[in-house]
Symmetry: C2
Subunit: 239 residues, 2 copies
């Protein structure tokens, strides 16, 4: 935990509290003068720690008011985690969601994705996103109820799971895996496309700290979707 320099230790302690959820989004973190007192150091040292948290996107600072844990960020981490609902809305299309199935149950050790979640209990969802009434993506999602117990109470027929998670759970690590496959009969009929049509398959796993949050597989008809990832001048100075 102690990264050798003082401002790094201060940073690490605050970061731990945020990532553990002990300090939720919106929570006011101690004032600089309080941290100075606690760590017995100069203001500049505290300031350095906080500045680093700012450009990690974990906190926001407001003059006169103090420093606050930032709301979970969608864009701040360089590559969009695609929010399908937002994407469709941005194109001016009408978004639709159909919840095909929802199960709350223990993880099956036989299914590799479920084993990887390392959750005692999980929520398994299948849903279909549509744009202007036409199927747009099939989503198969596992949510760890150990990491996100609140998910059990959400009505995912009304809010897409990805959208809800993006807004409620800060994540720190993600891994995407992207492939192309020829649609099998099952998928083709759900997406209303011809069998063997090329589809883009996006698998994503997300973590908060060491906790595995969710695993999702989204299947898009190749012709319907371009996955776009831009990156450059990061979170940095330009905001």
């Amino acid at each position: 935990m102690s990264t050798s320099t003082l401002h790094d230790r201060i940073r690490a302690r605050i970061e731990t509290r945020i990532l553990s959820g002990a300090w939720p989004p919106g929570h006011r973190i101690p004032f600089e003068h309080e941290l100075m007192a606690r760590y017995g150091c100069a203001r500049m040292t505290v300031s350095k720690a906080l500045a680093s948290l700012v450009d990690a996107g974990l906190i926001e600072r407001r003059r006169r008011a103090g420093s606050f844990v930032a709301q979970p960020r969608v864009h701040s981490v360089v590559l969009d985690i695609p929010d399908i609902q937002a994407d469709i809305a941005a194109r001016g299309d009408t978004y639709g969601l159909k919840l095909l199935s929802r199960q709350r149950r223990p993880a099956k050790a036989t299914i590799p994705e479920e084993k990887m979640l390392r959750a005692s209990e999980l929520l398994a969802l299948r849903c279909l996103h549509s744009a202007n009434g036409r199927p747009f993506a099939l989503e198969e999602r596992l949510i760890s109820l150990d990491a996100v117990p609140a998910a059990a109470e959400v009505d995912f027929a009304a809010v897409p799971p990805g959208t809800w998670l993006l807004g409620h759970v800060p994540w720190t690590q993600a891994e995407h895996r992207i492939t192309a496959v020829n649609a099998g009969n099952a998928i083709a009929s759900v997406l209303e496309i011809a069998p063997k049509t090329a589809c883009l398959v996006l698998e994503r796993q997300t973590w908060r700290g060491a906790r595995h949050i969710t695993h999702v597989r989204q299947t898009f008809p190749g012709s319907e979707y371009d996955l776009v990832a831009k990156f450059g001048p990061q979170t940095r100075h330009g905001r």
Copy 2:
């Protein structure tokens, strides 16, 4: 150019020199005491500017030696720009490269990709990457000779263009576009797969500052390639 605060202005001036190529990788930038003198400020202010360049990955600092423009970085910007040769080697397979065509010519205004490059002259390459002798990816690349004149002298039958560019040209912005398509006859025969096989198409454009460097389209047989993008604790403290 002046971002209002002094350390930001210092940062911006140095950044400009690096991105313009005036200070190439390996070049020693002025010592802190020289910058203090030039800008008439305290060392801490200079230090802040340089620290920010460090975690943007643009410079490296060595005690006693000074600060140097960093070598172009492959990983530092969160998502790998995939280096096909490195990927194949990492799997323990034998990498092969065949240059199918190479043209040096002015950009054609009729082709949208070429127009977007905004280059008076470009290098158009088609090459086939292979792993253990089997076709692995078809690459169609345009390189702006305005931005990278040195590319005209490189033997791209020996070094894959992506590998060469990653090692020689620092980039600041990139945009990926990923789709799935059913292989047409032409592509299928080059890649030695059945027509209509699902293929992953990765289009990427890269910029250095305002200069467009390259545009590339890579086509992978869907079964052969997973595109993996990990991201998390960034360039940050953890290195």
